[in-house]
Amino acid sequence: MSSFIWNEDVINEIRARGETGAPRVRGFGANRILPTLDALTILPSQLAGKMPIDFPRENISTEVVIGEGREDVSKPIKIKTPVYISGMSFGALSKSAKMALAMGAGIAGSMTNTGEGGTFEEEKETADKWGAKFVVQWSTARFGVSASYLNSGDAIEIRIGKGAAPGLGGYAPAEKISAEIARLRGIPYGLPAVSPNRHLDIEETNDLRRHILLMREVVDYKLPIFVKIGAGRVYEDVRAAIAAGADAIVLDSSQGGTGSTVEVVSEHAGVPLLGMFAPAMRAFKETNAKENGVRLLVSGGIRNGADVYKALALGADAVGLGTAVLISAGCYVCQECHLGKCTIGLATQDPKLESKLDWKNAGERIGRFISSITEELKLLCALSGHASVRELTTEDLRALTYDAAAITGIKLIGYDQQLPMWTY
């Protein structure tokens, strides 16, 4: 007789620990069941409220501008879809994979992100060629970071943490750091790449404010500055990032993926997507941040147009995808990115394995995938009577479960009201 608690996976894991004496490390993010946006439903327009839009004969606007209305940003970033590609590094991914992401983002009229570790010429060239906006990341180790790197971007993302490994640093053993990656990261060849778990030069919120000032001075007050946070104390962290002067706050849920992390962290630390919105929006409302042009970007577990719609209705302005775009490029979720032996050629530095990835084909797939999500989003906007993604509100949603209503403050189906705890 099998046990629910002591199932085969648990038994195997315990036995493996008996051999290794170490916590498990693997790629991707949380596998266990966590609350998701599936616990919400979208309300179609019928007689009450707005009439549905006759899409595609009537247009739905999906353009998003980040940095607009911000005093210290002269070049806001405009994307044609609220769906963008999250930060993933050259190092965790192959060069070909990074170029595919840049191409795919361009096809979809969106933006890609260097991730930690700097960039390489072909990535930027590909982004420019296909018209993708280019976000350069400033992370804890400053690998590959310089004044010219910051100026090569359309936006800068200061990464405080990520959802799959909040509070943890990064580690890539020396054998995974090729001579080219070492050069790009500005580290001696033959050494592992170790990222501190925090910015050693950000000791308090005022230092983050000074960091943002530093960025603004270096890019001459042109680019929007994002601050990326792994979801934890969401309300307090968002308040701090707003106070520091961020133009956009990127909240990465505990359902986000990564190339390599400790399983116990990705499974058991952080707040899942569904739980991020209420505290984040409370922080936004209390500070009038939206009115002041600050944007909320969310990522970590977004899979389709319905997820995007729900995230926007809950308060996000744009939504980042990582795992889903890799799957669209051919990833089959073996969750062994950390081994560097990706047979698809995505998460590897092995030239033979990388050669298996036709990056242009992968780029086209990524582009089509993001475009298809955007079309789904338009359909859902149309049926709920919205001609623009910017019109979506929590009134367009209902919670399917008591838990989801309690977590989000969304009205519960049937009861058709907010739960009493939200109305005090």
Binding site: P23, A141, P173, G186, I187, P188, D207, E217, D220
Partner: protein
């Protein structure tokens, strides 16, 4: 300093305008702006990629000269935290004391401080040279991966903590060494390197004293933190 140059933005704009004119129209013989009486403004003279010489007087705030990518910046006065942060090229010369985090994350160029510095000098250094003609506090060279840190005076506790490569030279006393740091042997090449640097930057150090300098280097090259990570994490890597 002119009345208008009070905000960081205005001070840096004066520098940017000077550099832009100097490079766009050399015939104008642009003169560098006179920046004096600096009073704690943060992020001054940051991210300059051109080979220009800039003189600044007064007390700088935090992140002075950060992301310097080619300029020679001379500060007469004290400075706050993280001077020269993430610098990639050029030089910064300070006649005064600086707070902690001097040269954090730098990957190239030279910083010279003729005065004392706080703790965590040269953390994550990946190839820059830092010379402090004075004493510093704890955690000098934390996580450093390359480059040189030279302290003519005393250093505090945990010096070289988890350093992977690079060298720390100390003329005075060492409070304690950090994990993976050990005292090595000063070679003739080391003495020559230091002697040339002292001469270049006008540090009046008796050449005979160089024999008394201590050199701190990693216990195990390319080690940190592989053994620890192997113990804690890499064993957990499995298909």
């Amino acid at each position: 300093m002119p009345e208008a140059l009070v905000r960081t933005k205005d001070i840096n704009n004066a520098l940017k305008n000077y550099i832009a004119t100097k490079y766009s129209d050399p015939s104008k013989h642009a003169k560098p702006p006179k920046i004096s009486n600096l009073s704690g403004q943060d992020c001054i003279a940051v991210g300059i990629s051109k080979n220009v010489v800039i003189f600044i007087e007064g007390n700088a705030g935090d992140y002075f000269g950060a992301l310097n990518a080619g300029a020679s910046i001379r500060l007469t006065g004290n400075a706050g935290k993280f001077l020269g942060d993430t610098m990639t090229a050029g030089e910064i010369i300070v006649k005064g004391d600086v707070m902690h985090g001097l040269g954090a994350f730098m990957s190239g160029g030279t910083i010279v401080v003729k005065g004392d510095a706080g703790g965590r000098v040269g953390i994550m250094n990946r190839g820059g040279s830092i010379l402090v003609h004075g004493s510093v506090k704890n955690y000098t060279g934390l996580y450093m991966m390359a480059g040189d840190i030279i302290i003519t005076g005393n250093v505090g506790e945990h010096t070289g903590h988890w350093m992977m490569r690079g060298s720390i030279y100390v003329g005075g006393d060492i409070g304690s060494l950090g994990t993976n740091a050990k005292e090595g042997t000063m070679t003739e090449a080391d003495k020559k390197k230091l002697s040339e640097l002292f001469k270049k930057y006008g540090i009046d150090e008796n050449p005979e004293l160089l024999s008394t300098y201590k050199k701190i280097e990693p216990e195990k090259y390319a080690a940190f933190p592989e053994p620890e990570y192997e113990k804690v994490l890499l064993k957990g890597v499995r298909a």
